[in-house]
Amino acid sequence: MSKNTRIILICSGKGGVGKTTLTANLGIALARQGFRTAVLDADFGLRNLDLLLGLENRIVYTAQEVLEESCRLDQALVKHKQEPNLALLPAGNPRMLEWLKPEDMQRIVSMLIDDFDYVLIDCPAGVEDGFRNAVAASKEAIVVTNPEISAVRDADRVIGLLNTHSVEPIQLVLNRVRPKMIASQEMLSVNDVTDILALPLLGLVLEDEQVIVSTNRGEPLTLSSSKSPAARCYTNIAKRMQGEEIPIIDPSKEGSSIGDKFKRLMQTKIF
């Protein structure tokens, strides 16, 4: 049994903050770096990871058949054609939620660790059974949040639950960051969010229209050598996961025009 496999839960509490997009992009980026990576869709109710990876038409079996032992694990895993280091284990029928137990998720993951360096688990939104099942199988976690009040609040709740399940380390990814809004203090800053949640920041992802374009095509941004802002952010996050030291630049502190400098001055904390 490979003990070095990193089993990472990607969760957020709130829906729609970018868990699945992050899972798809990190999966591809890690695979491109040469790591055997499995992405596991633990969102049985509303699965979407297959779509973001462009693998929806190649699913034959799912985690459900694997658990029922009506197929082998390697039959259910969908290998990515361009990036064969990446495999998706699709979520089964939503009715699985009725009987799925934390032990089932642990069983699936224990089958994966022999053949993979990374197992990324795309967690469902919410803090109910689906979340609990996914947490039980995870060792570490990445909490995704947006610089929005509701997303940060839900992230805080999730962090509390992860702590009680002894998941660690827990790292933070701040998604959909808009530097201009932060500079004019109409959006929570990177520091505001890390101070409030008290988690180490693994990275931030800039708001980027290309994310929608890539979703439309089912080709994650990290798949091509895209130079789009979000693509660079995702790739840097994947590198930091390996312990590479890539500084996180605070985007609202960039710029050298007089206006930018004035905005920076206005962000000075007095007390």
Binding site: I149, V152, R153, D156, R157, I159, G160, I182, S184, Q185, E186, M187, L188, S189, D192, D195, I196, L197, A198, L265, M266, Q267, T268, K269, I270, F271
Partner: protein, 99 residues
């Protein structure tokens, strides 16, 4: 509560604070409550009881006393601000309490 230069300027000019600092304040308050898992009713009950205990020793303004939750670095603290009118005669109180 942190304040930026812009917040101070806004205050001086009588303008609304920036929405980011409003968000910060609202979050800190709501998270303190989320983390402690205390309902407003329980908070009020706790406030009353704390004040009653303190009132045994010093004369305080029961209505002005504020008990709130504040949070920093995932640590939540119970902060009580109890204005003391004047100390009571301590010795007689101790006897009263112990008897």
């Amino acid at each position: 509560m942190t304040m930026t230069l812009r917040d101070i300027l806004n205050k001086l000019l009588g303008r609304q604070p920036s929405s980011a600092s409003t968000a910060r304040e609202r979050l800190q308050l709501v998270l303190a409550h989320d983390r402690s898992d205390l309902s407003p009713e329980l908070m009020e009950q706790m406030r009353r009881e704390i004040l009653e205990v303190v009132a045994k020793y010093v004369e305080i303004d029961i209505e002005a006393g504020a008990v709130s939750l504040e949070t920093e670095d995932r640590m939540t603290a119970l902060v009580a601000n109890l204005p003391i009118r004047r100390p009571l005669a301590i010795n007689s109180k101790i006897e009263e309490v112990s008897s």
